[in-house]
């Protein structure tokens, strides 16, 4: 195998696949990247068996072939090479010679035989979405995933294609975020998956490289083909992301979203975020909640921690309902506010034990459960 490649293209390609390495010391090959050279491109593949990524970069292939190399080390070498022209030359014994300007590296590789291939599949459900839209939707919900590994069902984002709607949901049992969009969903294609958190973060990182992203899935696995036509640094075709899905039944989220609206206030997103953020500066692990107090046209936000002090913020709002007060974990308020982009949001409350609900004019809902102080 032998090819010539632009250093920055090569580095960019490696950066796409870099994060996916196996943690299992029993399979050293999983910390390698599979490099396959053919025609006028090389493809780079990494996998940890649950998740795999492949991208293609243009290259001047002199001699087709394959090899695998430790991906982290390779990426840091390529980034530092002195010259933009890089030549890669693999001997049959998998020793790779990497040269650029006056630098030459010899790196020991492993043959491709041991490298587990990424599964490809054909007869699954398939949808095509806008990358920018999927990215925004993921951002609006993914913070609500559960971090608690014992609740693996909740360690991810729920993708639901059903009844003319595409919805993304995440919840940790105390809050839930839902973003949906109208979409044509043929009955035979309707279905859902739970995408693992790690895949969600890789997918979010890879999106916005081009216009479309195609998703294929069945009940055990899924794949994303992410067009890379907007990326000018050597990527060609699309990036292929393969992932297992979390198997299990996602909780019935519709049931926990309040149907009725009691008090609704319109808020300026950034302003509310700033106030809550400031108030939360006095919070501690021991006292991690902010109190919202609504009175006529006034929203007051207070926080206090016994060993530090207290904070008081107030903002004018349009409100004429009864006085009410409710406390929340400040993170639960700030997370959706940070993730959204709309300037205007709606917040619905009822009393100190009922959930608070954030909404936007597009179909975003975030339900957060209050903290009760005894």
């Amino acid at each position: 195998m032998k090819f010539k490649i632009n250093r920055d293209h090569f580095a960019n390609g490696l950066a796409q696949v870099l994060n996916v390495v196996g943690s299992k010391a029993t399979m050293p090959i999983l910390s390698n990247v599979l490099i396959e050279a053919e025609k006028d491109q090389i493809s780079l593949t990494t996998t940890n068996l649950d998740l795999g990524i492949r991208c293609k970069i243009k290259a001047e292939v002199k001699e087709a072939g394959t090899v695998t190399l430790p991906v982290k080390r390779l990426a840091s070498i390529v980034r530092e090479l002195p010259n933009t022209d890089v030549t890669v030359d693999a001997a049959p014994n998998h020793q790779v010679k990497l040269s650029s300007g006056g630098s030459t590296f010899r790196i020991m590789g492993i043959g491709k035989e041991e490298f587990p291939p990424l599964p490809e599949f054909g007869d699954e459900k398939a949808f095509t979405l806008e990358q920018s839209e999927l990215a925004a939707m993921l951002r609006s919900v993914s913070y609500a995933e559960s971090q608690d590994e014992t609740r693996y069902i909740l360690n991810g984002v729920y993708f639901n294609f059903k009844d003319g709607k595409f919805s993304l949901v995440a919840t940790d049992g105390r809050r839930l975020a839902l973003m949906s969009k109208e979409m044509d969903v043929p009955a035979e294609s309707s279905g859902s998956i739970i995408l693992p958190a790690k895949t969600v973060s890789e997918l979010s990182r890879l999106l916005d490289k081009g216009e479309k992203v195609k998703i294929n899935f069945n009940e055990r696995r899924c794949a994303f083909q992410i067009a890379s036509n907007k990326d000018s640094s050597g990527l060609i075709d699309s990036i292929y992301l393969y992932s297992k899905v979390v198997e299990g039944n996602y909780p019935n989220y519709n049931q926990v979203i309040p149907k009725e609206t009691h008090q609704r206030i319109k808020l300026e997103r950034q302003l509310l975020l700033d106030c809550v953020h400031r108030a939360a500066l006095v919070c501690s692990e021991k006292a991690n909640q902010v109190k919202l107090k609504l009175t006529s046209n006034l929203l007051e936000i207070t926080a206090q921690s016994p060993d530090f002090g207290e904070a008081h913020e107030s903002m004018a709002v349009n409100y004429s309902g009864p006085d009410l007060q409710v406390a929340f974990n400040p993170t639960f308020i700030m997370d959706p506010l940070k993730a959204l982009t709309k300037d205007e949001i709606f917040f619905e409350v009822k009393d100190e034990i009922s959930p608070g609900v954030f909404k936007t004019l597009d179909s975003f809902v975030c339900v957060i459960m209050p903290v009760r102080l005894t």
Binding site: S146, D148, T150, R151, L154, T171, D172, G173, R174, R175, L176, P251, V256, E285, K286, A287, N288, Q289, P306, A327, N329, I353, P355, V367, M369, P370, V371, R372, L373, T374
Partner: protein
């Protein structure tokens, strides 16, 4: 029927010997006590065949004149008390005047003794209570008593003796106790011609403990000295991390007398209750000094038991004294850390010190009273980090335990001891956080461990145990203030319990709710968890309620003492509150240490596991031979 006769003394003595001299060890005990009562500074004990064939105790005490040497073998001959009331002022081990005649009546008994100022000594030989001869003998000032062929006049008694090994073990333990009781007396113990131990006069109890139990023991002991009214508790107590699997290292003395007092033992164990796990025992070498009139030593023929006039008073004094010390230890926590500790404990120290005594702990500048005599008043030498020298300058006390103990020993006996204020509970410390400026976080290891470099060496912290301790106290405190944040759940968890557990949980629903759970029964033995304490991961709630039900079933929430319940709850809950970050930065880890050292018992987790250990520079140098 034969007529009533007064028993000849010899027979009476043999009967009394049945009580006083149960076994060879009892002979040794009586003879050693006599030697100590005679003011000896050197005691040598020898025995062979478990004491069965020969026992010898030799001392350099005051000795006896020929007249006394004969008199001491008479029943109720004692130089130690004159009238019954003297029993209440007892300052000696002996008081009955029974020991020697009893022993002499059941053995072949040779007494050689010479008092100060006399040219020659006296030798008295008695066999089975019959005087065989009295004659002059040459010997240095002091007394030597040899007891051979124990029980040969009463062969029945011989049958009750255990194996030589067992009898020897009792003798050894007995001599150890007296050696501990009197560190200032040199002791030698010889078994079958072989020296078992030889301990010179020791300046401090700690040295004696080292001589007897081994040097490695001493690093885990800290001095204690607390006075309250006319009671004084002094000696050494073990750090909670050095808890032992048996009670063997829990030794107490009352007015210098080794005794097995249930009251004292109970108080010691109770003091450590929060610090060490069930089934493990603290080390303690404690001397309780108390008005002799307040103890009755004359309740057991071998004086093994004592009775206090006021048991509760003694018990609560001991518990308060030890707890106070343990808390101080907690704050000083680490000698390593100590090297960096701020005037941390002043507030607390102020609360328990007698007025007029200057606090010294680190608060050097303010405490710089005239001269350095204040050092003696410091209740917790181990907590003392910098002390004052005679000129009032701050001097560094060596950071590690050895040095700290040395500092403790420098204290003059009787120089102001701290006094625990009676009645008042020890004020809970609200001390300043320790300064950890010169500390460096090295990294995480083995999942739960965190490694630090401190000014005095290396510290290995078990993050899980540390967090459990922090959370345990946080949860307890939270309950005290009633400020509890309850996170309502969007997705309630459901839980099915077996009928017994279900009934137990329903019984205690109020308790469970008071700790932040909303449990709703929605069918036979089915519960829905609708809210959890805000620190708890909702996913942990089901397991936790099950564990709680298990603890209920084990009867761990049975007593009437609510405090015990809350502790039990906090112990269970703290294990659930711990979340270990996979990556941790220096600031976070130093913060964890700081939080740990602010707890009352930073040395151990609520389960009694150690939270950290230290490798001092000295230790590192020794191990690496640098």
């Amino acid at each position: 029927m034969p007529s009533i006769r007064i028993l000849p003394d010899r027979v009476a003595n043999q009967i009394a010997a049945g009580e006083v001299v149960e076994r060879p060890q009892a002979v040794i005990k009586e003879l050693v006590e006599n030697a100590l009562d005679a003011g000896a500074t050197r005691v040598e004990v020898e025995f062979s065949h478990g004491g069965r064939s020969m026992m010898r105790v030799e001392d350099n005490g005051c000795g006896m004149s020929r007249e006394d040497a004969l008199l001491c073998l008479e029943r109720h001959a004692t130089s130690k008390i004159i009238e019954a009331d003297d029993l209440n002022r007892l300052g000696s081990y002996g008081f009955r005047g029974e020991a020697l005649p009893s022993i002499a009546s059941v053995s072949r008994f040779t007494l050689q003794t010479r008092p100060q100022g006399s040219e020659s000594g006296t030798e008295v030989l008695v066999n089975g209570g019959r005087l065989l001869h009295v004659r002059d003998c040459g010997r240095p000032v002091g007394t030597r008593i040899e007891v051979a062929q124990l029980f040969h006049p009463v062969p029945a008694r011989r049958k009750f003796l255990k194996t030589d090994q067992t009898e020897a073990a009792h003798i050894v333990q007995c001599v150890r106790l007296y050696a501990l009781a009197c560190p200032g007396v040199s002791f030698t113990l010889i078994e079958d011609g072989r020296v078992l131990f030889r301990s010179p006069e020791c300046p401090r109890l700690l040295d004696r403990v080292g001589e007897i139990f081994g040097r490695h023991f001493t690093a885990d002991l800290v001095p204690i000295e607390v006075r309250e009214g006319d009671m004084v508790l002094r000696g050494l107590i073990g750090k909670p991390v050095a808890a032992r699997p048996t009670r063997h290292e829990m030794i107490s003395f009352i007015n210098g007398r080794p005794v097995d007092s249930r009251t004292v033992n109970y108080a010691i164990v109770e003091s450590y209750h929060e610090y060490i796990a069930k089934g493990r025992y603290p080390m303690a070498f404690l001397f309780l000094e108390i008005d002799p009139a307040a103890v009755d030593v004359n309740v057991h023929p071998a004086k093994r038991e004592v009775r206090f006039r006021s048991e509760p008073q003694v018990r609560s004094f001991i518990i308060r004294a030890i707890l106070q010390r343990l808390r101080e230890l907690g704050q000083a926590a680490s000698p390593l850390l100590g090297a960096q500790t701020e005037p941390a404990r002043q507030a607390e120290a102020g609360g328990v010190q007698p007025p007029g005594s200057a606090p010294v702990a680190g608060g050097a500048a303010e405490a710089a009273g005239p001269g350095g005599q204040a050092q003696g008043m410091q209740p917790a030498p181990a907590a003392t980090v910098s002390a004052l020298d005679a000129a009032g300058r701050v001097i560094k006390v060596p950071a590690f335990s050895a040095g700290l103990e040395a500092a403790a020993a420098d204290r003059l006996p009787g120089a102001g001891v701290s006094s625990a204020t009676p009645q008042q509970p020890i004020p809970s410390p609200r001390q300043a956080a320790p300064v950890l400026t010169a500390w460096r976080f090295i990294g995480l290891a083995q999942g739960s461990l965190a490694l630090f470099e401190a000014p005095g060496g290396l510290v290995v912290l078990d993050r899980r145990s540390a967090l459990e301790r922090i959370w345990y106290e946080r949860l307890l405190a939270q309950h005290g203030t009633g400020a509890l944040a309850v996170q309502r759940l969007l997705l309630p968890s459901t839980l099915e319990l077996d009928p017994v557990a279900s009934a137990l949980v329903k019984d205690r629903l109020g308790f469970v709710q008071a700790h932040g759970f909303e449990l709703v029964e929605f069918g036979r033995n089915f519960f829905r968890i609708e809210a959890v304490p805000d620190w708890m991961e909702p996913g942990d709630a089901v397991d936790f309620i099950r564990e709680l039900a298990g603890a209920l079933r084990d009867g761990r929430f049975q007593g009437r003492d609510e405090r015990v319940w809350h502790e039990e709850y906090a112990r269970l809950a703290s294990a659930k509150a711990v979340r270990l970050s996979q990556r941790a930065g220096e600031a976070e880890m130093l913060g964890l240490l700081r939080d740990l050292f602010l707890t009352r018992a930073p040395l151990t987790s609520p389960q009694g596991r150690a939270t950290y250990f230290e490798l001092s520079q000295g230790e590192l140098a020794r191990r690496l031979q640098i």
